[in-house]
C-alpha cells in the first residue's frame, strides 16, 4: 500500500493548508490567507502533476487503458484548477464572501475527488503495479516538482 499511503498523506496536507487559509480569510487576515492559500495551491498543483506525469502513465501502461479512471481524475483536476484561479482572484480582491463561497464548492469537489482516488484508484495502483514499478513510481513522484 505504499502508493496509497504516500498519496493519502499528501491529500491530508493539502486539507490542512486549505483549512488554515479558510480560517484566515474568514477573519479577514489577508496576509495569512494569501500565505496559506499559496501553499495550498502549490501543494495541490504539484500533487496533480505527480499524478498526471508519473502515477497515471504508470497505471495506464500497466492496464493498457487511458480512458478509464485516470481520464475521470484528469477531468476533475481541470475543474479544481479553474476554482483555484477564482479563489486567488477573491483573495486579491479581499472579498471574504466570494472566497468562502468558492471554498465551499472547492471542498466538496476536492473531497469527493480524493475519496474516489483513495478508495479506488490508489488501491488499484497498489494492486496492479509490480513491486519494482511501484517503488520506481514512488521515487519519481518524490522528485517531481512544480
Amino acid at each position: 500500500m505504499i502508493i496509497s499511503h504516500y498519496m493519502k498523506h499528501e491529500h491530508r496536507l493539502c486539507d490542512d493548508y486549505f483549512a488554515k487559509a479558510e480560517e484566515a480569510a474568514s477573519k479577514k487576515d489577508w496576509e495569512e490567507a494569501t500565505k496559506q492559500f499559496e501553499i495550498f495551491a502549490h501543494e495541490t498543483l504539484q500533487h496533480f502533476k505527480k499524478e498526471e506525469e508519473v502515477l497515471f502513465p504508470a497505471f495506464e501502461k500497466q492496464t493498457g487503458s487511458t480512458e478509464g479512471p485516470t481520464g475521470v481524475m484528469k477531468y476533475e483536476h481541470e475543474h479544481v484548477r479553474g476554482l483555484i484561479g477564482k479563489m486567488a482572484e477573491a483573495i486579491l480582491d479581499e472579498d471574504v464572501d466570494a472566497y468562502l463561497s468558492l471554498a465551499e464548492s472547492m471542498m466538496i469537489l476536492l473531497q469527493q475527488h480524493n475519496m474516489k482516488e483513495e478508495q479506488m484508484l490508489y488501491a488499484m495502483c497498489d494492486r496492479v503495479l509490480p513491486v519494482a514499478t511501484k517503488e520506481e513510481t514512488l521515487e519519481a513522484m518524490k522528485q517531481t516538482e512544480l
Binding site: 486549505f18 475521470v72 481524475m73 466570494a98 463561497s101 469527493q112 475519496m115 478508495q119
Partner: protein
C-alpha cells in the same frame, strides 16, 4: 467501476429531479403544519388518528421525499451507481407517491373506507417497491463497496420490508385481512421505518459526508464496517423471533438505542475534531440533530420500562428533531452545490456561487426557526396552547425551505437563459 466523467453531468441525475423531491418534502411539511392546527394536542396520543396522520406526513411526506432526492443524487457519487433514465424513474415514483400519501392520509383521517386503503396500498406499494428494488439491484452489482454503499443497501432493504409490512397493516385496516399478527407486524413496520430506514440511511450518508464536508478524521472501523448491517440484522432477527418471543422487541430496541447513541457521540466527536474551523449553519444542524438523537434514544430506552405518555412523546419529538435537522444540514449543502456545479459544468462562467444561491445567513435564520419550532413542540407538552405556535412555525420552516428551492430553480433557469457560456471545444 468508474464512470467516464466522475462527478459529471453524465453521471448525476437532472437537477430538476432533486429539486422536485425536495419541493415535495417542503410542501408536505407545510401540509403537516396546517394539519397540526387541525389535530392540535391530540397528536401526543399514539392511538389517535391525529398521531397516525401526522406521523405519516412526517415519515412519508417529508422524510421519504427528501431521502429519495438524496438517493437519486448521491447514489452515483457515493456508490458509483448510475440509474438509467433517472428523470423517467423519478416520474414513475413521484406521482404515484404523492397520490398514495394523500390517499393514505385521507384513509387514516376518515377510517374504515376500504377502497382508500386499497388505493394507497397499490400506489405506495407499487412505487416504493419498484424504486427500492431498482436501487438495490444496481447496488448489488457494485464491485467495490464502501461503508456508505453497504449502508444504503441495508437502508433500502429496510424500506422494502417496512413497505411490505405496511401492506399487511393497510389490508387489515381496510378489512381485507383478519390481521392475526397485526401487533407484531406493526412493531416491525415502525422499527424498520425509524431505525432501519431513516436512521441507517442517515448514518450511511454521514460516513461519507461528515468527512467530505467538514474534513474530519475518519470514523472508527467498527462503526463504518458493522453498524448499518448490524442494525438490519437486529431488526430482522427481532421481527422473526417476535412471533415466538413477544418481549424480544424490548431487548432489540434497547440495543438499538445504545447503538444509535454511540453513533451520535462518535459523530459529534468527529465534528469537534474537524479541520475546517468555520462553523456554518449546517454544522449546527448536525449538532442539534445528533444531540436530539441522544435525547430521543434516552427517552426511548426509558419508555421501555416506564409507561409515561410524555416520555414516549419526547422520544418521538426528539427523533423528529434528529431527522429534520440532518435533512436541513444536507439541504443547505446539496442545493447550492448542485446549482453551482450543474451550471459551471455546463460551461457558464456566470454560474452563481454557492453563497449566491443560498447565503449562509439565510441558512442560519432557518436554524433558529427550526429551533423555535422544536421548542414550541416540546413546551406544548406543558402548555397545550403552544401547539398552535408549533403549527405556525412548522409552516414557516417548510415555507422557508420551499422558497429556497424555488429561488435556486429560478436562478438556475435565469443563468441558463441569460448567462455567458464558453465552449470547452472552442
Amino acid at each position: 467501476m468508474f464512470s467516464q466523467k466522475g462527478l459529471s453531468l453524465d453521471q448525476a441525475p437532472p437537477i430538476s429531479v432533486v429539486f422536485r423531491f425536495f419541493l415535495q418534502g417542503a410542501s408536505f411539511g407545510i401540509l403537516g403544519g396546517v394539519l397540526l392546527a387541525l389535530y392540535q394536542n391530540e397528536i401526543f396520543d399514539p392511538a389517535s388518528k391525529g398521531a397516525l396522520v401526522l406521523t405519516h406526513v412526517f415519515t412519508l411526506g417529508i422524510m421519504l421525499s427528501v431521502m429519495l432526492a438524496a438517493l437519486f443524487q448521491m447514489l452515483p457519487v457515493i456508490a458509483g451507481v448510475k440509474l438509467t433514465s433517472p428523470a423517467k424513474k423519478a416520474n414513475w415514483v413521484q406521482y404515484p407517491l404523492i397520490a398514495g400519501i394523500l390517499s393514505l392520509l385521507l384513509a387514516f383521517h376518515f377510517g374504515k373506507i376500504a377502497w382508500l386503503y386499497l388505493l394507497a396500498s397499490l400506489l405506495l406499494g407499487g412505487s416504493l417497491l419498484f424504486i427500492s428494488f431498482e436501487m438495490i439491484k444496481k447496488l448489488l452489482q457494485v464491485p467495490n463497496h464502501t461503508s456508505s454503499s453497504k449502508g444504503i443497501t441495508a437502508a433500502l432493504f429496510s424500506l422494502a420490508i417496512l413497505v411490505i409490512a405496511a401492506l399487511y397493516l393497510t389490508a387489515t385496516l381496510g378489512g381485507y385481512s383478519e390481521g392475526i399478527h397485526y401487533v407484531q407486524i406493526k412493531t416491525a413496520h415502525y422499527s424498520f421505518g425509524l431505525f432501519g430506514w431513516i436512521a441507517v440511511l442517515i448514518i450511511s450518508i454521514s460516513f461519507q459526508v461528515i468527512e467530505m464536508f467538514y474534513v474530519t478524521p475518519p470514523y472508527p472501523n467498527f462503526a463504518n464496517r458493522y453498524l448499518s448491517n448490524g442494525i438490519l440484522f437486529l431488526l430482522a432477527a427481532a421481527s422473526i423471533l417476535s412471533f415466538f418471543l413477544p418481549d424480544i422487541w424490548m431487548i432489540c430496541h434497547l440495543i438499538l438505542a445504545l447503538l444509535l447513541s454511540i453513533y451520535a457521540i462518535i459523530t459529534l466527536k468527529r465534528l469537534s475534531k474537524r479541520k475546517r474551523p468555520v462553523s456554518d449553519a449546517t454544522v449546527w444542524f448536525w449538532r442539534l440533530g445528533l444531540g436530539s438523537l441522544i435525547i430521543s434514544m434516552l427517552c426511548f430506552a426509558l419508555g421501555l420500562f416506564v409507561q409515561t405518555a410524555w416520555i414516549h412523546a419526547l422520544a418521538y419529538l426528539f427523533f423528529g428533531a434528529f431527522a429534520l435537522s440532518i435533512v436541513f444540514a444536507m439541504f443547505y449543502k446539496i442545493i447550492p452545490f448542485l446549482t453551482w456545479f450543474h451550471l459551471s459544468s455546463q460551461g457558464y462562467f456566470t454560474a452563481p456561487m454557492m453563497h449566491e444561491v443560498i447565503h449562509p445567513k439565510t441558512a442560519k435564520k432557518h436554524f433558529w426557526i427550526h429551533c423555535s419550532m422544536m421548542t414550541a413542540f416540546i413546551m406544548s407538552l406543558i402548555v397545550p396552547q403552544l401547539i398552535v405556535l408549533a403549527s405556525l412555525l412548522t409552516v414557516l420552516s417548510f415555507g422557508w425551505m420551499g422558497y429556497q428551492i424555488i429561488h435556486a430553480h429560478l436562478l438556475y433557469v435565469k443563468t441558463q437563459k441569460e448567462g455567458h457560456k464558453f465552449s470547452m471545444n472552442a
